[in-house]
Amino acid sequence: MATTVDVNGRALNVNSPPDTPLLWVLRDELGLTGTKYGCGVAQCGACTVLADGQPIRSCQVPISALGAAKITTIEGLGGNHPLQQAWVKLDVPQCGYCQSGQIMSACALLAANPKPDDAAITGAMDGNICRCGAYQRIRAAIKEAAAAPAAPAVSAEPAAAPAPSPAA
């Protein structure tokens, strides 16, 4: 039974059972592997994507519950998003595994609060675990992105929509 999901600006038919969490549909069926599995119980934030601009833990949301929600994944940010530029400028990633989720949480934060203070940043980012401990660079990169001239481009809308690669 096909379900339609709107991912990075494209309406896509997927064949996974409707109770399948969005995370596994993105990764296994659509090949959008930038969104990571870390805990499966909404504790670590590695699977964070945006649904209509709001951060959700995709490991917890079955595709049947998505309705018409527009999903944005890390691939949907296009690579030159101010946050991504700041992440590279400050060499935020270490192992890098959690960073897609970190960036998506930061993206939702900046969309709602373009000039967040320290408390707003840690408040928005506490759901995203980084075992490498890149936390202080994450905080600094969010401030860097918030200060960037291109800050208005911070948006929940996909900057580009790369074609998902169907399961091989």
Binding site: E29, T33, G34, C39, G96
Partner: protein, 734 residues
């Protein structure tokens, strides 16, 4: 090669365990033998004209081949920079490629020539190797240019990737690749005078993987997708040492997408065409376990038994192997037990999970052509040996494609290659070379063992008239990580170095006239392993927190007290980092309102780190603000990545000190996921400032030495705040 290959495999296995184990533990035991030759037999890795570490493309790209996995510590950038420096390459045109598995080409100099990443040795063991490779290739390009231009090689310069002659002739590496490849490499290329370095030691050495790790394209094992690939999950026993008694796969097999169910040595594997289907199938399995040989004790009981051994309530086995073993002891032990103790305390440390963000996983293809593994291999040689024993092949013939790994912190290197062999067993059942990706859930990962061991220390110190240690009695009780290593090795018949490093060799023991220090390593059925900074995770805490208690007792300032002891012990590097950290932290001036400082210093993996942490207590929980760090790690390759490792290592150590604890009840691990295994989050993470001691010594470790210092620095601040020592971890009990 006259011996049957199985003999070679097993002989290699024993020595492999010895050398890899000791090297991972931070020692550098070199075994001069043909081990890498034996282990690389069957391997087919092509080496180009510029050797195993460098490739040049006509478009000017310089590729540095890394024999080490990149799982966060920035070694890919550091390794590339070392070669690029000697080449005088244009750093923007340098890229990094992961080496294949081949012990002969890519052995770790600090691991007896077997291939592996650990013991914070990636940069240290590659330093001379990659400088030499870079210098040799540079000489080949210069010779080629001289011949082509009909000029003297001595007149040619190479600057930022441009090969030039005063006549005006110039070229990039790209245009000269074909000519340079024909030049015989110099046997002893001249290395640069470090004073002339233009890249190494500058903040131009930046990570090469930040973009890929910020846009979702960095490829991890979890992301591998191959034609016809199956996904496997395994039902594991709830207790360590239990085996499958029987299982009912009826419901599992009915699950849509499940293709097969197999019994394997570690449990029951469900194989499916998607991750979610594999999980649904695995959850539908009914398994009965044979627990006759399982560990059934609780962690509290194991700790109680450790305490009784330390106190002497339980006599130690009168056995050279199983009894007490001394280290750093000197003088009359009876005196260390007598007199009036200034400090007489015990410390407890729980089991810890590594909890890397990417749960353990592996892709294997078995049964058609050479066995191939795709995953984040920390110790390719060990993984080859352990796989070879299952698929009956030469270790060298096992191909490994190493990907980025979502952290390891030691977990991916173990003598059993536990999750790797699990995947290989399943792929062997599937056969036909069909790719199988083994996925562990967070719960599988957290409950699989290979923890930092549970540790108990008992410390009794008497002091002289000035309040400095006169006698030091020290007992350590913990499981041995190195158990099973052959006699005569540092981890075998002798003392397990990984259990005592950091106490053993401590400048405080050097400065104490009488020392009676001993270790005992009772068995338990809980698998244990190195965990970022290994022995230092507990020894640094015990030594540094004890010192602050002694300083307090003596009425001396903790920094002054340490200075005196370092002078006594001749610990110059300790003194330097201590002074640097104290100066930058403003130790002699008051901390900001509400904050209290604590200091700690520790040497591990060849580097010495001092930290001054500013701490306050909020709602009963310590909060750590500013952390000033000073490190002496020899020659600094990438100051920014050294800082990153101090930041990250500090968070990793602080997470454990504040919250980390794996406990067992009746042999069953109580924690399953991050809801019960609390880890440090962003709002709890300090801001770390890093200062690097200028040095011309060869580079030493950076990945681990930042981890063990923060715990005692915070405990020492708490001692100053509350007047009470903190004698067990984690600080925050749940």
């Amino acid at each position: 090669m006259n011996k049957p290959f199985k003999d070679i495999v097993s002989a290699a296995s024993r020595r492999e365990v010895l050398v890899v184990g000791s090297a991972l533990a931070g020692t550098s035991l070199l075994v001069g033998c043909s081990l890498p030759d034996a282990l690389s037999a069957g391997s087919k890795v092509e080496v180009g004209a510029f050797g195993p570490f460098l490739k040049f493309s006509p478009d000017g790209t310089v590729t540095v081949i890394s024999k080490h996995i990149e799982f966060g510590q920035g070694n890919h950038a550091g390794l590339a920079a070392i070669a690029a420096e000697e080449l005088d390459a244009d750093w923007t045109k340098v890229k990094v490629e992961q080496a294949a598995a081949n012990a002969k080409l890519y052995g770790n100099v600090n691991m007896g020539g077997t291939q592996g990443t650990g013991g914070s040795s990636a940069i240290a063991n590659s330093w001379t190797q990659l400088r030499t490779a870079g210098a040799a290739a540079r000489a080949m390009f210069v010779s080629a240019a001289a011949a082509k231009w009909g000029v003297s090689a001595g007149e040619i310069t190479v600057t930022n990737g441009v090969i030039a002659h005063p006549s005006g002739k110039q070229s990039g590496f790209g245009e000269l690749v074909a000519d340079a490849a024909k030049v015989a490499p110099p046997e002893a290329p001249k290395l640069k005078d470090p004073k002339t370095f233009t890249l190494v030691g500058t903040n131009r050495v930046r990570r090469k993987d930040s973009a890929a790790k910020s846009n979702g394209t960095a490829r991890y094992t979890q992301d591998v997708r191959l034609p016809d690939m199956l996904v496997a999950m395994v039902a594991h026993a709830p207790k360590f040492g239990a085996k499958v008694k029987s299982f009912d796969a009826t419901e599992a097999k009915k699950t849509a997408g499940v293709t097969a169910v197999y019994e394997i040595p570690t449990g029951v594997a469900v194989v499916a065409n998607s991750t979610w289907a594999a999980k649904q199938g695995r959850d539908a399995l009914k398994v009965e376990w044979d627990e006759s040989k399982a560990e059934t004790r609780s962690s509290a009981q194991i700790l109680a038994e450790f305490k009784d051994l330390a106190s002497g309530k339980t006599p130690a086995p009168d056995d050279k192997k199983k009894g007490w073993k001394g280290f750093d002891s000197k003088g009359d032990a009876a005196k260390a037990a007598g007199g009036t103790a200034a400090i007489d305390v015990t410390y407890d440390f729980p089991y810890l999970a590594h909890a890397a963000m990417e749960p353990m996983n592996c892709v294997a293809m078995v049964g058609k052509g050479p066995t191939k593994l795709i995953f984040g291999s920390q110790t390719p040689t060990l993984d080859q040996i352990n796989t070879a024993g299952i698929v009956m092949a030469l270790p060298g013939s096992i191909q490994i494609e190493t990907l980025f790994a979502g952290g390891s912190f030691g977990r991916r290197a173990n003598f059993q290659s536990d999750y790797v062999t699990e995947c290989v067993h399943i792929a062997k059942k599937v056969g036909k070379g069909r790719p199988v990706k083994l996925v562990w859930t967070r719960e599988d990962d957290m409950r699989a063992g290979y923890y930092r061991p549970l540790v108990h220390h008992a410390v009794r110190v008497t002091t002289d008239a000035q309040g400095f240690p006169a006698t030091w009695k020290h007992r350590i009780v913990t499981q041995s990580i190195m158990k099973g290593a052959p006699p005569g090795s540092p981890g075998g018949g002798g003392i397990d170095f990984t259990a005592v490093e950091g106490a053993m060799g401590s400048p405080y023991l050097k400065a104490t006239p009488i020392v009676d220090a001993q270790l005992i390593t009772p068995d338990a059925g809980v698998p244990v392993l190195w965990w970022r900074s290994v022995g230092a995770t507990h020894t640094a805490y015990v030594m540094e927190h004890t010192i602050d208690q002694l300083a307090k007792k003596a009425g001396k300032d903790p920094v002054e007290y340490r200075r005196a002891l370092y002078q006594k012990a001749g610990a110059g590097r300790h003194l330097t980092v201590l002074n640097l950290a104290a100066e930058k932290a403003g130790w002699t001036t008051p901390a900001a309102d509400g904050w209290t400082r604590g200091v700690a210093v520790h040497e591990s993996f060849g580097s010495v780190v001092a930290q001054v942490a500013e701490v306050k207590v909020e709602n009963g929980t310590p909060r750590v603000g500013r952390v000033v760090t000073a490190i002496d790690c020899g020659t600094a390759i990438s100051p920014d990545q050294i800082a990153a490792q101090m930041e990250g290592g500090t968070c990793y150590g602080l997470s454990a000190a504040l919250f980390g604890s794996i406990t067992l009840t009746g042999g069953v691990v109580d924690q399953q996921n991050f809801d019960t295994y609390r880890v440090l989050r962003n709002s709890e993470a300090p801001t770390v400032e890093t200062y690097i001691v200028p040095s011309t010594a060869p580079p030493s470790g950076v990945g681990e030495p930042g981890t063990p210092v923060i715990g005692p620095a915070v405990a020492n601040a708490l001692l100053a705040i509350t007047g009470r020592p903190t004698l067990s971890q984690p600080f925050v009990k749940t």
